[in-house]
Symmetry: C2
Subunit: 306 residues, 2 copies
């Protein structure tokens, strides 16, 4: 039994600790899993990070009344997918970043080929973890597989990353896709970041046995959280420093990527993030979920400094 935490910081700390422990057991053991590959996956998976997606997943399950353990495999699968996406995003052919979470990126320490494979491995293991939950309701589990795959794939995260890449990278023909306008920016971020954040909370609610009304309300709230998350990320890219945000700051702006502060200014961007929380609160309130940890998590996302 996990003790009830006093505030959202304590809640996040306790759920994050559960996730950290469980993540260790998600990677297949050596030597069945080749040590060179396991080491690469492990390096990135244990590099820290806020664990936003798994904590949201656990909170989604707890909001509908399930014990936290019910959602742990789902939560871990989401972090495996998030970690793979960071590894691939950092590759020279993508964002070409050498610093992530305050450490050298995987391709710097393990080589590009092994980094690509470690990402492929983490993505695939995520679905193995989802599908290997003995005793869980197969219909619910299968629905989480569908939700997570749609959010992580061409209609979600991978699609958003492709749009992002196409706006900053000339094609081999030398042709560069036109820069995104405000609507395009919102769509790109909703796919690239928002979809998986939403899927995290929704899959938690599904595996936790939530009603359709609860699942829908949690999906609405988490969509707002995802947007707020991205706005705050853009602000931190301008205001943060490498030590606290754990990656190279000012990089998006320097690359000419469209950002919320660049389009709207910092003050208006902050107001937009607060507005997201109000929308989320309304949705949760209507479904009788205002007493859950979800809204507190939304505030934690907006108030974060890294």
């Amino acid at each position: 039994m996990t003790a009830a935490p006093d505030d959202v910081a304590a809640y996040v700390a306790s759920r994050r600790a559960l996730v950290e422990d469980a993540l260790e057991s998600c990677l297949p053991p050596s030597p069945q899993c080749p040590p060179v590959l396991r080491q690469a996956m492990h390096y990135s998976l244990t590099a820290g990070g806020k664990r936003v997606r798994p904590v949201l997943c656990l909170a989604g399950a707890e909001a509908v009344g399930a014990p936290v353990d019910v959602a742990l495999p789902t939560a871990c699968a989401l972090e495996l997918i998030h970690t793979y996406s960071l590894i691939h995003d950092d590759l020279p052919a993508m964002d070409d970043d050498s610093l992530r979470r305050g450490r050298a990126t995987l391709h710097v320490v393990a080589g590009e080929g092994m980094a690509i494979l470690a990402g492929d491995g983490l993505l695939t293991e995520a679905f193995r973890v989802l599908a290997s939950q003995p005793g869980a309701d197969a219909t619910r589990v299968l629905r989480t597989v569908a939700v997570v795959a749609e959010a992580a794939g061409a209609l979600g995260m991978v699609g958003g990353q492709a749009v992002d890449l196409a706006t900053v990278t000339p094609e081999p023909s030398g042709r560069l896709s036109p820069a995104l306008d405000a609507a395009g920016l919102a769509t790109m971020h909703a796919m690239k970041t928002g979809a998986l954040i939403r899927a995290a909370a929704v899959s938690g609610a599904i595996i936790g046995g939530g009603s359709e009304a609860q699942i829908a309300a949690i999906g609405t709230a988490a969509r707002e959280f995802g947007l707020a998350f991205q706005i705050v990320d853009d602000i931190l890219d301008i205001e943060g420093d490498a030590a606290s945000i754990g990656k190279t700051p000012g990089k998006d702006a320097a690359a000419g990527k469209p950002t919320y502060p660049a389009l709207y200014g910092i003050a208006a961007s902050r107001r937009m993030a607060s507005e997201c929380l109000r929308h989320a609160e309304a949705a949760l309130d209507e479904a009788g979920l205002a007493d859950s940890w979800l809204l507190g998590l939304g505030r934690w996302i907006v108030d974060r400094t890294n």
Copy 2:
């Protein structure tokens, strides 16, 4: 109703045609799926190929008495995964190949970043396709997700590719993993190629509602097919020409990769492939599956010239 084919060539042709049609509908539509990404995924998915895995999957389902349509989504998911693996294998950081199935590889025409994303997208869509089978038995579907994920991931295909990469690529430290011996070669191929071929037939048998004895026998036979497939691949790498095998020949040998002909000679390698078929026949026979198309598919794999 699909007409009963006369021989294995007709069987393969008719099942392959079903797969080709169904694959088109596996990619999410534009513009929800960004056109630049969809085009890249489509380029590689429609580049032809033998469709060995999906045909084996359909044959696995038919062997246990299911109508072929039951296994079509599973068959397509396997081909999406196989296609992603080819895209990533061909990348400059991996095998660095510019020719595949007689066409320029994806990273040559779309850039490395988009090729990485197209691979990520195909892998993820495979699990979306598996999880989106309305009316299918959730327990069976979930078991295919587990089987496919395990075969495609760190314990299977990705793991085998990591071992392969580590034997030909110096680490950033300059250290090169030792060359594989015969046992290491067999294990590497069993993971890299064999696991997904086996998963294809097994997942077909599972989704087709086969008994545990049938599923096990089909798994044993398909493991033998996978080994035979790799032996024949190594022989074709030496004896084939670019026009018929559709990729750069002699590449594995030139890269110093261990191959069956290099270790055992061509004649002994051919005998090993035939031996695989005899083992497969024994397993299928014992489970009363000798009349299925599976053994014919094994012969088709061994007798192929590309």
